[in-house]
Symmetry: C2
Subunit: 301 residues, 2 copies
């Protein structure tokens, strides 16, 4: 007699019916526990951060003490109501002729390569600051501007960042990344040693703010904060390139909390990317990669 036959034979159907009498309430209780725990963690809708106010305060002239769920009240917008003003479109362009402007811009960004070998030659940090200022002009969901740019020029902090990242990257390359992933990176000749983190004259760590705070201290939802911050990174890359600086977009796997803590950033900020910035080393080489031709990235309708 097979194993399956044995299981089927051993079933006493009346007993199963009896069982459900007991199991059903247990399942209901389990479901309730999970439901309440989930609600406790995420609020009544998963996409919204419960805007809980923790101290004595006035809302609409009435004073409340303790935790208050603001959803009981009319929500306060993250932005103040602003006057709408006329807008005529772009006034500052690269060239009065749009074709020439687009062609020149293409030349600038097409000249960019990811640099993994930096010169220790110092850079003018005010240039990087201006580039970050440009990145801050990025659009963002509901104009929440959910980004923080940490500009590290101090050699000692750069060395500490390198130590944290190399220790994690050693484990990443040995254990956490799939064999396929490490193979895919082979043509880029990367490994866990990140010399550029101490060589590059400055590092910019870009944090996405997963939520923010309103003037009254309550939480402010940051819609699409990862996409918004990544778009700002794209603008930063263009600005750096326009100013003749090289960079590299890195996503240090599993290093976020340690780096956040090192830089004393609050818990609502999560590391998105880290960019070493500077000039390419004298002996810098890059893989002879080609970009996809335009007809492989553009489809016209």
């Amino acid at each position: 007699m097979s194993f399956v036959d044995e299981i089927i034979r051993s079933f006493d159907t009346s007993l199963i019916v009896n069982c459900w009498k007991y199991i059903f309430p247990v399942l209901v209780v389990c479901y309730l526990i999970i439901f309440l725990y989930d609600k406790h963690l995420y609020g009544s809708k998963k996409t919204k951060v419960a805007p809980v106010v923790e101290s004595k305060q006035k809302i609409d002239g009435i004073e409340y003490v303790g935790e208050i769920d603001l959803y009981e009240f009319d929500p306060i917008p993250v932005l103040e109501e602003k006057e709408h003003i006329p807008f005529k479109g772009a006034t500052v362009t690269l060239d009065a002729d749009p074709r020439k402007a687009a062609a020149r811009f293409y030349e600038i960004v097409n000249d960019r390569r990811s640099v993994r070998s930096f010169s220790t030659r110092p850079i003018d940090s005010t240039v990087v600051e201006k580039c970050i200022h440009a990145a801050g002009c990025s659009p963002s969901g509901a104009h929440t501007e959910p980004w923080t740019f940490c500009l590290v020029s101090d050699q000692n902090i750069k060395e500490q960042i390198r130590e944290i990242i190399e220790a994690e990257e050693f484990v990443n390359y040995q254990q956490r990344m799939s064999k396929q992933w490490t193979t895919d990176l082979k043509p880029l000749r990367t490994n866990h040693v990140k010399q550029y983190l101490s060589d590059a004259p400055c590092l910019v760590l870009i944090f996405k703010q997963t939520y923010g705070f309103k003037a009254d201290g309550s939480k402010k939802q940051h819609y699409y904060n990862e996409i918004s911050t990544s778009i700002a990174v794209g603008i930063l890359l263009c600005a750096l390139q326009a100013a003749g600086l090289s960079s590299l977009v890195t996503t240090p796997l599993n290093c976020g909390p340690a780096l956040r803590s090192l830089l004393g950033r609050p818990t609502n900020e999560k590391l998105l990317v880290l960019l070493p910035i500077g000039y390419a080393a004298e002996d810098c080489t890059v893989p002879d990669l080609k970009r996809k031709p335009i007809d492989r990235i553009l489809v016209k309708y």
Copy 2:
């Protein structure tokens, strides 16, 4: 007697012990089904797409028929091994003086505003194509270039896109978005009516490719495809601005599959953002918002 007392009294403990004799194998079978289904969907590691080859092919000189898990073999890199060539850094900049270059770039992007009211005045579509070409110079995880730019100029297709989006946005504003979210958007004066989708001379729909395909037809993992594609969007915004064109970054909630299907894009592509592109309407207004000052986005170490 309370309802809870009744439940407790009704428990026959010996029966519960008997029950488990039957329930245990059922639970084991359920667990196995879930485990195998999960493994089937995600492979042995959740972060990796199982690279399954579905037809007759040769690997290392041996011919295989049917599904083959490539992890049994030495993985093939997504990139070919390339020669490494010297790289001297940027040669095309905005200005020979890095400070002037950064300041000029800042002026260009600071001039950008999200435009929600477009003129129907035609634009030179070759300019938009060049801007997309520039966006394609974005860096990407393991140089996978995981993006597709769909440029829609056809009025009929634009109208169909508008119909799809307005129908979904009506439900979004009425039901799916939290009261807080719709309140947060009030200062931007948005609603489900998207006139700009048919007014703007062109729409660019940007899809992230969640995975790709190698030359042999097997799946290719696209690392960090959302961040990479968002960075490319940032570059596109700069290019459009440099060429004097206005745009708006939109994330049409729940419209991705319908729009993907309308444009005949494959299932590995997911809509990230949609940009109407053109010139601001004569009567265009924008909320009089201010950007955060530099010291609220930049922290120096």
